[in-house]
């Protein structure tokens, strides 16, 4: 990395947590699969954090004596364990889930912990071709000097195979099925033949593994073939199950966004809590109280909650004179919900009638304010 990390908008996890990775590598003496930087147990610890401070068995230069590993992934530990076990085996790992459930983050963290780099990544789109997954050519050189290894342009996947590293394919279901199927032979035979160079082939070194992510909302755009499915272990990533964990995550991200924007005030806890509650209710179709809610079709992930909360927090930070931020909540929810299906606005109104009304009747002050705003919602819906 030539760019100092402070000058990047987004610092990759292997740089951001370099000290933790180095510490864990020194701390951990368990058996490691070939070419892994850490043992499987230490990879899990890197993702879900350590219980208290870890202590080095012997002092190592440049490293602190003890360090608490932060929790980077708030989902279930068992899930992380399963991912790590899959990657130690011979099949690919496919992370599926609703948009905004931190699939990409999970795959980056796993790659960073296992091989020290999350850079071997391909973004799947409808325009992705086989070249992006296998190899391409530098055509000028190809024509000038004929086929040669120096004219070959390896894809990130091929580079990962050569390095024995973890390759990532984001949004694999957005690729056309015939393009996806380029991965079938690659995953089963673990080599890429280059017929243009005679009998040449690029074998995967030990340690090569593949993580793909797939967005369930894209399903049906291009279905995966059964042959490819058989070469993956599937892991479904669910939205954050625990209210407090989600609220903490949202609060943290909103505060970070406010700080980086240089906003003069922090977020309002009541608004955050109300918004996160509403997002969770609408997303799961069931409230904390066990009441049933009609789910809108729009995506209501934690990421959307962060966006809505940030926008509420920003507006109250920059325009403090506008009165109660709670008054913006119906508009923010409507803006998030009404994306694909006009019916969703009616569903949100249903949420008001069934849930907001009851909470307001039970005396929750914030919800009473929201209930009074029903008319506003109705006029805009």
């Amino acid at each position: 990395m030539t760019t100092p990390s402070t000058e990047r908008q987004i610092v990759p996890p292997e740089d951001r947590y370099a000290h933790e990775l180095a510490f864990l590598a020194a701390h951990d003496d368990g058996p490691r699969p070939p070419r892994w930087r850490l043992s499987p147990g230490a990879v899990v610890t890197f993702l879900v954090g350590s219980d208290g401070r870890l202590r080095l068995p012997r002092p190592t230069e440049g490293l602190p004596e003890s360090l608490a590993i932060s929790r980077k992934y708030v989902g279930s530990t068992a899930l992380v364990e399963r991912c790590v076990v899959t990657l130690a085996g011979s099949r690919g790992l496919l992370l599926t889930g609703e948009p905004g459930t931190a699939k990409s983050m999970l795959s980056e963290l796993l790659a960073a912990a296992i091989c020290g780099s999350s850079a071997y990544a391909v973004q799947g789109t409808a325009g992705t071709t086989e070249d992006h997954l296998r190899y391409g050519w530098n055509y000028a050189q190809l024509l000038a000097h004929g086929p040669s290894e120096s004219a070959l342009v390896p894809s990130p996947v091929m580079a990962a195979m050569q390095q024995g590293a973890v390759a990532r394919v984001e949004e694999i279901t957005r690729c056309l099925p015939e393009v996806q199927d380029a991965l079938v032979s690659l995953l089963s035979e673990r080599r890429i033949a280059v017929p243009e160079l005679g009998d040449s082939e690029v074998p995967a070194r030990p340690g090569f593994a593949l993580i793909a992510t797939a967005n369930l909302r894209d399903r049906g755009v291009s279905e995966m073939s059964a042959a490819l499915k058989r070469r993956f272990n599937f892991e479904q990533i669910d939205p954050i199950a625990d209210f407090d964990a989600e609220l903490a995550l949202v609060t943290e991200q909103v505060s970070a966004a406010l700080v980086s924007a240089g906003a003069p005030a922090g977020p309002d806890d009541t608004v955050l809590s109300v918004l996160v509650t509403a997002f969770r209710d609408l997303r799961s179709g069931r409230t904390q109280e066990g009441w049933s809610v009609e789910r809108p079709t729009s995506v209501l992930s934690t990421a959307e909650a962060v966006a809505a909360c940030t926008s509420a927090a920003m507006s109250s930070a920059w325009f403090p004179g506008r009165g109660d931020v709670l008054r913006q909540v119906p508009g923010l929810l409507l803006g998030t919900v009404r994306k694909d299906d006009p019916e969703d606005a009616a569903r949100l109104l249903g949420y008001w009638d069934q849930v907001v009304a009851r909470r307001s009747a039970e005396g929750a002050a914030a919800w009473r304010v929201l209930w009074e705003l029903r008319g506003e919602l109705e006029s805009r819906a």
Binding site: P40, G41, V44, D51, S76, T77, A78, E81, R82, V84, V85, T86, A88, G89, S90, R91, L94, T96, Y139, A140, L143, A144, P177, A214, R219, G220, E223, S225, A226, K229, R230, F232, N233, F234, E235, Q236, G285, G290, W291, S292, V293, E294, E343, A346, R347, L349, G350, D353, Q354, R358
Partner: protein, 1137 residues
């Protein structure tokens, strides 16, 4: 974690003392625990006890010899109950103990029997539990407030467990493989101690936490243990172990406290018991039977092989391989490679978690990750079914011969005698439960017996009709012998009728949504409010997956509890209020799905829904309002009436205005059709609207009375058609109401008379005075009732309309006479003889004939002029319905008519569809070499590939040449049209045939046409000829969507070049899971699919939104489309691929 070291150290000391205690030596267990069951004999061998105490009630003692009998085969179940409590009308106290080889208590009993060591049952007698339980209900068990995380809480967090059963599995069972028996005993005691510590108030482990029940039980255990001498081993729930320390046993004041507590509570009971053979299937937690464990067959294997990690690993591998085989058996590919990966996954997960061998959790995780392919519906279900087969098992136990007969029969006999219910077969019994205490007890007993599946008497229909409970109830008795025989058959449910009723209801509410809703009523009647509440909870969790009809059932059950049941349990009441609210919300969400329908039943449902929910349902009002304002006429009418039901009196004005507008506009044929549908919807949803509401009735009377004669006659057949929705009785009431109006409002009557007189004069001037219809006559004609008083032309009109719409019976008020015999005056005449044009005008003549044809009047259809008839889908529908059994010349004449309709409709359809299919007929760009090179596209595509020449210029290298593929080369697209013909000849069916024919005319497409109901017919040979197609379609039967989809799948040659259009209302009568699996399989294979909830020119549908959304989630988008919309979907899909 964050607690200070001092309490932690005390805790450790306390724990060590508990584990090391020798008198009594404590073995903390869970009722099913393979690990403890396995090591228990070794623990007992080492302890060499002279007495064994087990946590079973003393009533179990006589049954121990049968439990350990060598002929007894596990699993078996012991049910204990106190018949005295049941007879005294208290809720019965019960104990239910299923035993398997992996139940530590059974292992201990067997060991004791083999070694001749006496066993004492130390738990509280079952008879005493009822009082403890009742006392408990009055105590509010508030969870203790703590500053720091509790022990069990921490354990839950660390093992990611949801409850203590799961953390027990993860901390005790999973870690037991090959472990030292003493270590397992310690782990179990620690788990029990931690759970108790967290739950107990103030953190004192010797204080029983949750109320009197546990306090009593532990006092009883201590009291019994004090009476035992020698080396005593106590096998008790790990949770109770900390209450049995030496200190507590020896302290004199504790002994005194225990005895006084027991003396106050324990009274002599009348124990009854049943020991019966049980099955692994019932033992499984998910079966709904109490005291079960998940996946018993796997537990059995852990019990057998848990000593050796290697053996258990092998078992795990064998189990996963068996699951893979089972998945293959269900038709999903699952090879050895996947089985191997699953085994590796399970073993590696175990290693990563520090376990010697994989446990149940690791097995399930490996199956989900490797086998299920992230697919919850099709493959996921297959995996869970396979896992269930392999992990649950189907072994059945049996009891040794000579085991005493079931306690249930004994209890039944005693109750029959006590309540004097030994009656003759068929004897009728009338009970007055609210007045007579004996009848109250009889009523409850009969209800419970009914719930248990032992119908001592059956309720006589009408007892609870219409949701209103009558004060007295009527029962028809069955012979006692028959009841006893039935009781023998259900003995596994429990030892008393009460226990069996409870168990049966519990099981029923776990079986499905409908059963759960039904169980609410049964449980309330049988006096089990807690069960009614769990049934409601069950219904509420499934509320997303049910139809409107089912939601209405839930709403009415909830309303029944709230409004009708005397003194309902307060918790139940609030649960009902919640369920009511949820169900109303869901019902509102389903209202838009009814938009395209013209079914009277749907309209009635809407009306009923609005009647039972009450005005606070805002969302429902919104949905209805939208439908009433913008929906198709029938649904709009129904929604308008439902709104009036919801807010009585508010919408009458709107109804009157709309009726006026629609009636006045009904000059054109389309408006007449809309009026008929709107009226039909309005009156079906609210048949009493015009009878009960004076202003609504007057609105109608004004506009109909105000029409001039010819306008009235033009609209008369339409009005008659609309008012068909009322039955004879309602028509009579409506006529009576009009009569009353005349009397009650003389001013109005006077106005009518003036108007009549004016009209009469006008007509007289035209020489038509004899044709005049008075308002009263008009209503008689519209309603088709009491027409005998009509004379002259009115009488002819009435007879003709009767012929077209079916005569109403003039006598009785029932509906039996509807659509029945034709009136004699007209039956002798043929349609040709009646001058319809003269009576109604040429335009309306066709309406009347079409209506008659629609009712099956063949002559009416033949009277239609094939050349001049207005072609419409409705007319086609009616005529196609007439085809069967027609003489050849008549058929030929009808065919002409059909041909004309089909041709006209096809022509107009083709003009809208063909432009959308344009993309299919122009050449496409392709990379496959063809004769037509596309230079422009080639340059665009290869701009990146340039070569620098020696002179410094650059030249494009055509690395990827682009060609144009002529139309013929892209042929091979296959469109399969799959049409649901289960109901009647729907507009969608007609349109499907017409659309298929237009598509078949496009050269790039080949079209297959399948119809399905409960059988599938392939009509592909006629796909190009809509006339033949329509004539071949046979309607009727049920709906099995999976069957249709499978038949379609057989026709598929190249999945990625196949489009499947399914036309159905998605009211699936077949297996939903099979349907979803079929959809998923098709989607997986790459077939492009579209579900048409309706295919017609309006694009509004009436369908099961719910099933449709599940189908859509499985990969087949569903919506209502027009033929043009369908064509553009076909065009876009083909071009996109």
């Amino acid at each position: 974690m964050s607690s200070s070291p001092a309490p932690e150290e005390t805790a450790l000391v306390e724990l060590d003392r508990l584990v090391e205690q020798s008198a009594p030596y404590l073995i903390g267990v869970r009722h099913h625990s393979p690990s403890l069951a396995r090591v228990l004999p070794r623990l007992l061998d080492a302890a060499a006890p002279t007495a064994i105490a087990v946590e079973l009630p003393p009533e179990a003692a006589p049954w121990l010899e049968w439990l350990t009998h060598p002929e007894t085969v596990t699993p078996v179940a012991l049910a204990l109950a106190d018949a005295a409590a049941g007879a005294a009308e208290a809720e019965p106290a019960v104990g239910f103990y299923p035993f398997a080889d992996f139940s530590p208590e059974l292992v201990a009993l067997r060991w004791a029997a083999a070694h001749g060591v006496p066993v004492t049952c130390i738990d509280l007698p079952v008879a005493a539990r009822a009082r403890a339980r009742d006392a408990e209900r009055t105590e509010i068990a508030a969870p203790p407030e703590r500053d720091t995380a509790g022990y069990a809480e921490t354990a839950h967090r660390m093992t990611e467990s949801e409850d203590s059963a799961q953390s027990w599995d993860r901390l005790v069972e999973a870690r037991s493989t090959g472990a030292d028996p003493e270590a397992i005993r310690r782990a179990a005691l620690v788990h029990g101690w931690g759970t108790r510590r967290d739950e107990s108030l103030g953190g004192e482990p010797d204080q029983a936490p949750d109320g009197l029940g546990n306090r009593l039980r532990e006092a009883a255990m201590r009291s019994a243990l004090r009476g035992l001498d020698g080396r005593v081993v106590a096998i008790v729930g790990a949770f109770h172990a900390p209450a049995l320390t030496r200190e507590l046993l020896s302290a004199a004041e504790q002994a005194a406290a225990d005895e006084s507590l027991l003396a106050a509570s324990v009274s002599a009971g009348d124990p009854v018991a049943s020991l019966v053979g049980y099955g692994m299937a019932e033992l499984d937690l998910r079966s709904g039977y109490p005291a079960g464990i998940a996946d018993p067959l796997w537990q059995q294997e852990v019990f057998a092989d848990g000593d050796s990690a290697a053996a258990l690993q092998e078992r795990a591998a064998a189990t996963l391989t068996a699951v893979a085989r089972e998945i293959r058996g269900q038709g999903h590919p699952c090879g050895t490679g996947e089985a191997t990966e699953a085994v590796r996954m399970a073993l590696d997960l175990a290693t990563l978690r520090g376990l010697a061998a994989p446990g149940r959790r690791e097995l399930l995780e490996a199956m989900t990750v490797v086998f299920a392919h992230g697919d919850i519906l099709g493959r996921g279900r297959a995996v869970s079914r396979a896992a269930q087969i392999v992990l649950v098992g189907d072994r059945r136990g049996r009891v040794a011969s000579g085991t005493p007969t079931s306690g249930l029969v004994r209890d039944l006999r005693a109750r029959l005698d006590e309540l004097k219910l030994r009656r003759a077969d068929g004897e009728e019994l009338r009970l007055d439960p609210l007045r007579s205490p004996l009848d109250g007890r009889r009523e409850r007993f009969l209800q419970r017996a009914l719930a248990a599946g032992i119908p001592v008497a059956n309720p006589v229909a009408g007892t609870a009709a219409g949701g209103m409970e009558t004060v007295t109830t009527r029962w028809r008795c069955n012979s006692p012998e028959r009841s006893e025989a039935l009781a023998e058959a259900v003995a596994v449910l429990g030892a008393t009728v009460d226990q069996a009723a409870r168990a049966a209801l519990q099981r029923r509410l776990a079986t499905g949504w409908d059963a759960a809703v039904g169980a609410v009523r049964q449980a309330v009647r049988a006096g089990f409010p807690d069960l009614a509440r769990s049934a409601l909870d069950r219904a509420r969790t499934g509320i997303d997956d049910v139809s409107l009809r089912e939601l209405i059932e839930l709403i009415s059950v909830a309303a029944w509890v709230v409004d009708v049941v005397p003194d309902p349990d307060p918790d139940l009441l609030s649960a009902c209020v919640d369920a009511h609210r949820d169900a109303v919300g869901r019902a509102a969400a389903q209202v838009p799905g009814l938009a395209g329908g013209t079914s009277t039943q749907d309209a009635r449902l809407l009306g009923e829904l609005a009647r039972i929910v009450g005005p606070e349902a805002l969302r429902l009002a919104d949905a209805l309002g939208e439908l009433a304002d913008a929906g198709p006429p029938f649904a709009a009418g129904a929604a308008r009436a439902a709104l009036e039901e919801l807010h009585a009196g508010v919408h009458v004005g709107a109804i009157g205005a709309e009726a006026r507008r629609r009636i006045l506009a009904a000059g054109r044929p389309e408006s007449r059709r809309d009026l008929r549908l709107w009226l039909g919807g309005l009156l079906s949803a609210s048949p009493r609207l015009l009878i009960d509401s004076d202003s609504a009735r007057e609105g109608f009377a004004d506009v109909i009375g105000g029409l001039d004669d010819s306008a009235f006659v033009t609209r008369l057949p339409t009005l008659r058609g609309g008012f068909e929705a009322l039955d004879d009785g309602q028509c009579d009431q409506l006529l009576a109401a009009f009569g009353a109006r005349g009397r009650a409002a003389p001013a109005m009557a006077a106005r009518w008379a003036v108007e009549d007189e004016q009209a009469r004069r006008r007509l007289a001037a035209m020489g038509l005075a004899s044709q005049l219809y008075s308002p009263a006559e008009r209503w008689k004609l519209v309603l088709g009732r009491h027409q005998s008083g009509l004379t002259g032309r009115a009488s002819t009109v009435a007879a003709t309309l009767d012929r077209a719409y079916g005569a109403r019976s003039d006598t009785g008020t029932g509906v039996a006479g509807r659509g029945g015999a034709e009136p004699p005056e007209v039956s002798v005449r043929e349609w040709n003889d009646i001058d319809l044009a003269d009576l109604f005008g040429t335009d309306v003549r066709e309406d009347v004939l079409a209506a008659a044809a629609g009712r099956g009047d063949r002559d009416a259809a033949l009277s239609l002029d094939p050349v001049h008839a207005r072609p419409s889908v409705e007319l086609l529908q009616s005529i196609l319905g007439l085809r069967g059994g027609m003489p050849p010349d008549a058929a030929a004449r009808l065919r002409l008519l059909v041909r004309r309709c089909v041709d006209e409709l096809s022509r107009s359809l083709a003009t809208t569809m063909i432009p959308a299919l344009h993309g299919l007929t122009t050449a496409r760009r392709t990379l496959r070499p063809t004769r037509r090179f596309d230079p422009r596209a080639t340059i665009e595509r290869n701009l990146a590939h340039t070569l620098e020449l020696a002179d410094g210029t650059r030249r494009i290298v055509p690395h990827t040449p682009v060609f144009r593929a002529p139309v013929q080369r892209s042929v091979g697209w296959h469109v399969i049209v799959l049409v649901d013909v289960s109901g009647s000849m729907e507009p969608s069916t007609v349109f499907a045939a017409l659309t298929a024919a237009v598509l078949a005319g496009v050269p790039a497409l080949s079209v297959s046409f399948l119809t399905f109901s409960t059988e599938v017919v392939d009509l592909s040979e006629h796909a190009t000829d809509p006339l033949e197609l329509l004539l071949e379609i046979a309607v009727g039967g049920g709906t099995d969507i999976a069957l249709g989809l499978r038949a379609a799948a057989e026709l598929i040659r190249v999945p990625r070049r196949t489009l499947l259009v399914t036309v159905s209302d998605f009211e699936n009568g077949g297996d939903d899971a099979a349907m979803l699996a079929a959809v998923r399989a098709l989607a997986d294979s790459g077939v492009a699919m579209l579900g048409c909830a309706a295919l017609d020119d309006a694009g509004a549908a009436r369908y099961d939104l719910h099933t449709a959304s599940k189908v859509a989630a499985a990969g087949m988008p569903v919506s209502a489309v027009t033929p043009a919309g369908l064509a553009s979907w076909v065009g876009e899909t083909v071009v996109a691929r």
